[in-house]
Symmetry: C2
Subunit: 279 residues, 2 copies
């Protein structure tokens, strides 16, 4: 008898992935965390029944989350990563030598611990000396910190999973705006424009963010293991436009499997139906 991960993507639409072996299952203070091995994707992390990442394609999400903004921030020294306890975003951030400090704020210490144990290729840079890991609530952190950041990455779950809901409110975005430097950028996980339920979340998020940030748009990547495979990232700034020229030499020596400068520019070209959704 085989065991399957089973995820409803929309009404009457399921993605099923066969579990070769369950490596970990545990209940943290906030959510259920599971790691299993699969034939096609390698190891998979599931939180509260939703696929978070797979070894096969996590590079797409993490490279696009990090290098798209990093390419155009003039002087990105101080970075804040909220969520992303697996360490994938942190791994991409510290590839940039210009980064001096990363405040890595994850509410669920168990996600970090499980990732360190079972997903070393993703969590490998959490112990980089520039990374300051804080196991605490990102919502509270942005309300209270006195720091300012050049890049803020909100690497959250969906609003209906675990403790992520507060990362989608106007108050949260306002606090982020307050701690974002003039030439800084905030990026976040922004759902999909395709299936109705995801699209409604993306639409609401964009509306809320647009009321806070002077420059606000979305960009996209092909992420096959997220529902529809058409995934959005939010892009927000006080002064930096997405069409800005890349900073010379910024990606020198950084090897990427998805990201390149043409892909970065192209990722902001939105299909008409997505533009309509976000209008």
């Amino acid at each position: 008898m085989s065991d399957w991960h089973f995820e409803e993507q929309s009404e009457g639409v399921d993605l099923r992935i066969e579990k070769e072996k369950i490596l970990y299952f545990g209940e943290s203070e906030f959510q259920n965390i599971e790691i299993f091995e699969s034939k096609t994707f390698g190891k998979i992390m599931v939180i509260d029944g939703y696929l978070m990442l797979t070894e096969k394609d996590e590079f797409i999400y993490h490279e696009m989350m990090v290098h798209v903004p990093m390419s155009i921030i003039a002087n990105p020294e101080n970075v804040l990563v909220i969520g992303g306890g697996d360490g994938g975003s942190v791994r991409e951030v510290v590839k940039h030598d210009c980064v001096k400090k990363v405040d890595f704020v994850e509410i669920d210490g168990d996600v970090i611990d499980v990732s360190k144990e079972y997903l070393p290729s993703i969590s490998c840079s959490i112990d980089d000396p520039r990374v300051n890991t804080l196991v605490e609530d990102g919502i509270k952190f942005v309300a209270e910190t006195k720091e300012k950041y050049d890049l803020i990455i909100v690497d959250s779950t969906d609003p209906y999973i675990g403790p992520g809901e507060g990362l989608f409110t106007s108050e949260f975005y306002k606090n982020c705006n307050d701690i974002l430097n003039e030439g800084g950028i905030l990026v976040n996980q922004h759902e999909s424009p395709y299936y109705e339920n995801d699209a409604k979340v993306a639409q609401k998020m964009h509306k809320t963010m647009r009321e806070v940030f002077p420059i606000c748009t979305v960009y996209q990547a092909f992420i096959p293991t997220y529902p529809s495979g058409h995934w959005l990232f939010g892009f927000a700034s006080k002064t930096v436009k997405p069409e800005s020229d890349p900073i010379k030499g910024r990606m020198d020596g950084i090897v990427t499997k998805y990201f390149n400068e043409e892909v970065r520019k192209a990722s902001f070209a939105l299909p008409n139906y997505v533009k309509e959704l976000l209008k």
Copy 2:
């Protein structure tokens, strides 16, 4: 008891779609054809067990198949559509008033008939007076015709489904090249770069095409109901480069839900791993 469409996308990865109502099931001379109603996607056409199109997102595939090349062909009067018996590609082609004649060559007349009966929003332009419908083998057609074309669209199934296999050979591409005008473009359904089996087909196709056409690349679109959602189209020409400026006025008055000029340009920006695959 509900009935589900069940498709293996890769080893241990299934997409399941609930069938609300089966509207048609029949065996043609070449393949099984099924039309069913679904909650999320509207009507769906399945051939030999593989999802061919859905009412919800066929516009993405058909707009990108047709308007990407149409935008940059100087004088597209004579068009050949091979396959695509549903009529979706034909519908987009005849939106262009400059097109004088469309040879629409589909081997399986049942696909056309079933589409006309059950998918009128897709098949609606098959009876346009400029469309010359020929129920015959596209492989034989390109070997024998004396016509020359400004645009050739190969809207095929996968090579392992129904009679599509011969549309992926060197001989077929050579015959297409022979009937393609100097300033013309050939586009085709080109599989996905993501799951191993699809990627191998895409790789082989590209290698074969590159040996025939002086200019040859791929472009991509987010098509959620095809495996991985990351779908490729082949682009081949004797003289027309994909980065060509769009012909002024070409899209005037044509309403699209996915395609726009920025999306066209962006669709040729390939992630590093896709470039690597096609090298």
